[in-house]
Structures are given as C-alpha cells and as structure tokens.
Subunit: 127 residues, 2 copies
Amino acid sequence: MGGMTATRELLPTVAPPSGACCAPMVREAIDPEPARELAHAFKALSDPARVQLVSIIAAHDGGGACVCDLTEPVGLSQPTVSHHLKILVEAGFLTRTQRGKWGYYAITPGSLDRIAESLTGASPLGR
Amino acid sequence: MGGMTATRELLPTVAPPSGACCAPMVREAIDPEPARELAHAFKALSDPARVQLVSIIAAHDGGGACVCDLTEPVGLSQPTVSHHLKILVEAGFLTRTQRGKWGYYAITPGSLDRIAESLTGASPLGR
DNA sequence: TCCTCAGATCGACATACTTCGATGCGATGA
DNA sequence: TCATCGCATCGAAGTATGTCGATCTGAGGA
C-alpha cells in the first residue's frame, strides 16, 4: 500500500468516476423505527415551555413540584401547562403522583441521561 | 441534629399548612431565552426523517454525504429531504460544502455533544 | 453556446400543534 | 351533605409543520 499520502487533503474536485458520488458508509445508520422513537422523545423537548417545566421540576429535586408552582413561571394558563405536563409524562420524562389534592411531578430517573447517550459515543447519532 | 429520621418516608398525606404546597427549589431553573434556544435545537431533531439523516451522515464520517445518497434511505422526495437538511444546517447540526456539482453534508463537530451536555450533569435540565 | 444534471426554492395542501375558556371530576374541609 | 379547591379534559381557533410537484439555479460536459 505505498503512496497513500495526504489523501484527506486531496479530495477530488469532482466526484468518483461513475455511480457513487460519496465515500461508502463507515458505520450502520439508525433504523426507521428507533428513529421514530428517538424523534418522539426529542419532540417532547421541542417546546420552550416544556424545557422550562423540566428544568423547574428538576430544580425541585426531591419531593417534586405541583402544578400550582409551574403555571406562573412559564406564563401560560393552567390547562396549557397541564397539557404540556401530560406530553412529558407520556414521553417518559416525568412521573406524576397524587398526594392529597395536589398532583406532584418529578423527573423520571435516568430518562434524560438515556436520551443524552443517544447523541454521543457509539450510538447511532454519535461519532 | 437529632431525631431527623426517615423524613423521606414520611411525606405528609396533605401539603404544608398554608401557602406553599411544594418544597422549595434546590437549584436555579433555566431562563426563558436559553429554554427557547434549547427547544429550537430539539425541534430540529424532532422528526424521524431528520434523525435518520443525521445518523446516515454521521455514519459517512469523513467525507460527508451527498443528497443523492440520502433521498432513498429515508423514502422521501428530493425537495423534502432538501428541506429537512436545511433545518438541520440552520440548527447548527450539519454543514454543507459544494464539491463539483454535488453538495456534501457533514456533522458539525461537537454539536451533538453540546446538546447532550445540556441534558446531564450540572446543566439546567440535568440532575 | 446549449444541454444535462444535482439540488435548492416556491406554492399549495393536509395535518399536527399550541393555546385558551369552559367544564368535569375527585379529594378536602365545613 | 354541600361547597371549595386543584387540576385534568374538552372543544374551538389560529398557527406551524411536513410533504409533494413544478420550477429555478448553477456547475459540467458536448
């Protein structure tokens, strides 16, 4: 294999002769179904209000936060906040528990780390 | 500090007497503006086709991938793929370079790690 | 110069999402 | 038992998003 020097610097100004226009893939890409699930998780975090809600609830740490403490910081109506919370619960980021007449929301342990891992290292999106 | 035993297990069945219904916050929550930016980044990854595109391009690693290699795996039309790529570029996840008559897309180094960090450790969403 | 090809942009359409006021429901307190 | 409180659900309205066919642009080759 002599003479393979500086191939990285000598990218051809035109593509390979025929057929392929790109270099072949180095690794396997994600399958459609996992892609769908991953996108669904990201969609749950794709609204500013929901990002704030997760942050506020994470800041409460131990006991969780009730809806009454979440409405005012995000500046939205109670039904809207309730709607966002439901989306976050269904996506697995939050858990809901009822104590007395208050409902408390808490971060599902590990849920954020799991989604973070999908973006790094040897996962389908990481490099 | 005697007698502070098992307070974690003895959560009251009703909330604190008056006013506050939750424990106070342990840390600072995210501000509205950073929340908006973070949500915007997540929104770029909130579509299955875009997750697949990022994965396929990441799998090409070195030289990047051209649009002709991206249309078929995601099963969408060329204008639609082009549309999704634009969103990913604007969100900072991809970079585009022209070589000959082909356009090549590559992952912006560190962009995925940066978003992953916002979900873990001492960041506003992590715990 | 003209033709061809890769791919970006445009316009249109259907669907999904965000938001709110009104209402329903279960738990507390009187 | 009845009134009140916390909050989930419902229905409606406006906006944003995903998708495609048609078209435009810019680079290469004849």
